[in-house]
Symmetry: C2
Subunit: 219 residues, 2 copies
């Protein structure tokens, strides 16, 4: 939970750094990623030592394996937040708010889901974990809509290309944060109930616009 | 090693599917990713059971933890190959070979490093693992150069934007395959020697071109 809180705060501040183009705040989050990595390593070591010493079974073993898996996904969310911060440092030209603002349509559901899944872990609430797992499609749909919008801006004005390419990657990072959040929901559901959430998770992505002819390209 | 061979073959065929724009081959690799996930799960379960039952210490424990970590990185490489295949399915407009061919400057070193790190694991060769770890900068540099080239194509002709955006993501996926290969090298080095490769790994990325003014943008 301590690692979860830190990763969540780092992700929120990475997004604030992006919104405000705040290089100092971005640098702080990049620095903080080392702390996240240290905590990750410590959780993994402690869990493996406990498995080796105590030979746990059933729910105890699921708790330990669950902690290792969740810490692993949290570490990757931390990396994705760091990746957004590195882009903030590279984006030193002015960016029109019309380009920057729409990313909140992806980041808002992503941050909400991350908060909810950490709560479900704290409360051992498999129902809430299942609800997070089912809602990933909202983030995917928001990401797909944003990609379309950014590509349109690129086509309309080549001066937008570099900044929109940065934002494409930021949006992709948020979509991947959503995927890791969904993985955590699976781990929580498994450690509480002993049952895997199998089958393809629901996806809200409509990526058909990526097919070139559907974009309104200039002749 | 079985999982490593499968992931390596899947990645090679994903790249062949991209080069030839071969949708059937791409679909086959996407299907194969399920097998990779099953093997991954099996390795993880087996290693944890063994840790719980046998209470291994020193090199035996490092072998088991190493196997879990390496399987985890291989699974992620498989996901990145799948992501390239999904793009192949979306890229149904014709693509000029001048846009497609340069990605081999990133994929060739990435595939070579992946082959070498699997060899270093099979041979318990910490020297070769160290050499893979030190060479990741070549992939990063090739990726950075390709990004610059793709952004330039986008600026020059808006009709290139959609396909170049796909290729930006493919190149990024290859750079991340390189990162996971480097993680595997760290795991091999650790399991053989008991010593961590600490410190920042050498990076060959020069991403300064991402700053908008350095790109030769039309007025």
């Amino acid at each position: 939970m301590q690692m979860g809180r830190l990763v969540r705060q780092t992700t929120a501040e990475a997004l604030a750094a992006l919104a405000r183009r705040d290089a100092d705040l971005a640098r702080k989050q990049i620095e903080r990623d080392r702390t996240i990595d240290v905590i990750h390593r410590r959780i993994e070591t402690k869990a493996i030592e406990t498995i080796a010493r105590r030979q746990p079974v059933a729910v105890d073993l699921r708790e330990l394996v669950g902690a290792v898996r969740i810490a692993n996904d949290l570490e990757r969310i931390g990396d994705l937040a760091k990746s957004i911060c590195k882009r903030v440092l590279l984006m030193d030209a002015p960016v029109h708010p019309d380009l920057l603002q729409p990313i909140t349509r992806v980041s808002t559901p992503a941050m909400r889901q991350l908060g909810l899944v950490l709560e479900s872990y704290a409360d051992r609430d498999s129902g809430q974990a299942l609800s997070v797992w089912s809602s990933d499609k909202q983030i995917d749909a928001a990401h797909a809509a944003l990609l379309r919008e950014l590509l349109t801006h690129m086509v309309e004005d080549p001066r937008n290309i570099v900044v929109c390419a940065h934002l494409l990657f930021c949006s992709k990072n948020l979509e991947r944060i959503g995927d890791h959040t969904t993985n955590i929901a699976e781990s929580v559901h498994y450690l509480v109930t002993g049952q895997r959430l199998d089958g393809e998770r629901p996806r809200g992505e409509d990526l058909s616009f990526w097919r070139a002819p559907s974009l309104d390209l200039p002749a």
